[in-house]
Subunit: 208 residues, 2 copies
Amino acid sequence: MELLDALQWRYASKKMNGQKVPEEKIGRILEAIRLAPSSMGLQPYTVLVISDEELKKQILPIANNQQQVVDASHLLVFAAWDNITPEQVDDYIHLMAETRNVTEESLAQFKAALLRIAGRTPEENFQWTARQSYIAFATAIAAAAEEQVDATPMEGFNNAALDELLNLKAKGLRSVTLLPLGYRDTENDWLAKSPKVRREKEKLFLIR
Amino acid sequence: MELLDALQWRYASKKMNGQKVPEEKIGRILEAIRLAPSSMGLQPYTVLVISDEELKKQILPIANNQQQVVDASHLLVFAAWDNITPEQVDDYIHLMAETRNVTEESLAQFKAALLRIAGRTPEENFQWTARQSYIAFATAIAAAAEEQVDATPMEGFNNAALDELLNLKAKGLRSVTLLPLGYRDTENDWLAKSPKVRREKEKLFLIR
């Protein structure tokens, strides 16, 4: 499916039907997330892929009882690094040297730039890592649509409570967004047949 | 082109060749941006589409002299609303009522939720509108890749200077990201033949 058709097809399903998404489709959505760009290529986030029914039930009240959390096949949690540590920069430089078959010394300038970024306050770093996670999040939404898998982007949940439940702090992570993946229950989803609301291009774009 | 192939094909081109991107391709990339999701569907951003050579030259020093700004065919500037005003909420409610052929009264609860969001501080609102603009930004990157158009995501520029040059403050906007669109100069782009560096899926994902 072409991206534009996929974006037209998708919407934020308000009622999912509980049907499971085949693992090969989940695999392709995760691969799109893995390939998503990020500033400096750092990928400063982890994505939790939750299909455990019990865990989804525990998340439900934390997510304002939005039923897609439990009716989804898989629930993705985009969790951004709560800071950037020199160890994380080291790991990335190792990976880059290995992948590109170059010495770490040849990456010294790039590493210094990363360490300068890491030197900001943890809160500044988190605001930045959270923005990067939105790129992965948006890429996942597009990938799901291309697979004809419904996805309901969610920001409305209790981040602190979810971090606690998933033990994210100990992992150096903070939850940012949720993305339930599943299939729309067209009969019972009040939004399923509503036309998409978007500003006209004359209003959204400024041509110079 | 399938999304996964497009994401494999793309990279952040460091040297573009000045070739123009056909308007129909630009049109499809802009349409993908227009269809991109956002929280509450508010689309709290404007995207500037700059092909004027003189203006691109003026932006060059503001963007740390990253040559893609002038070698690109079109430069997109993602600018988020610097606040959310009751007037903007009204406009959106009008648009929704018109698009879905419902009364504005039937949207009262939704409108109240939007006004509660708008009631936060301007800085909180901007942090939120900026995150929404990253969804549109990432969708543009995917759409460009699918069109085999190169795109170099950029955060590294002087936001205040660009806002000044483009008179964004008067428009209630603040620049967030840049996306030059054009074609890679494979011969002269040091990054063109480098393998993509990405964490292994075992490290990027946590399966629960």
